[in-house]
Amino acid sequence: MANQASGDPSSNTKTMTIIVTKGSLDWAYPPFILGTTAAAMNVDVTMFFTYYGLPLLLKKLDLQVTPLGNPGMKMPMLGMHMGLPNIVGAMPGVDAACSAMMKNLIKRKGVASIEELREAALEADVKLIACQMTMDLFEYKLEDMIEGPTVGGAATYMEKALKSDINLFI
């Protein structure tokens, strides 16, 4: 079932690839939400994890978000929405506090955790590819990662992307 779409032009199965390049708590959501939802809608999904997206495959996740250089990030607080000026966001401990606050919101609003979505992706046969070059560059080992991903490079990704209906770079 997992490979029915690969290279078979007669297949009606739609395919999607996502290049996952960012590993912060906020940016981890779009690829996992779209990947799992597409899989639930019978799309054959491949996610390629490269650069800062690669650590999203590590067994233990401790994702962080930063308000630094992110003027769009305004958190609901005391009945309004508050952002932080960069000079405050640059202070020690602010990232940790913002990350804790966002994780708290995520839980309270019934939003899935990234761990949960990642598990759902594996269950739905989403193909996860770890970028070999990034593993070499940042010294990550396959043993440190969850079970499921295969290792590949740009050509592995391109072969998939060339015959996919949707290709996203996130």
Binding site: A40, M41, A112, E123
Partner: protein, 75 residues
């Protein structure tokens, strides 16, 4: 009455859809799954999900803050 029930109340996008898809696997073709949700986005999402997957949205109703969907497992 639907054949099976999925309580997705309190869950946010995309969890109701992911859980419904999983639950549908255990619903024999021709039978129905009832989903309860509180996510207002699920109204449009279950319509889209059913159109895209070829399953039938038999009912979509709202009672106070709870949305109720009945999905017939077609394929």
């Amino acid at each position: 009455m639907a054949n099976q029930l999925l309580d997705a109340k309190g869950l946010n996008c995309p969890l109701p859809i992911l859980k419904a898809k999983k639950a549908l696997k255990d619903v024999p073709v021709g039978e129905t799954l009832e989903v309860l949700a509180t996510d207002p986005g699920s109204v449009a999402d279950f319509e889209a999900f059913c159109r895209a997957t070829g399953n039938e949205l038999v009912e979509s109703t709202q009672q106070e803050n709870v949305y109720r969907f009945v999905i017939k497992h077609v394929r």
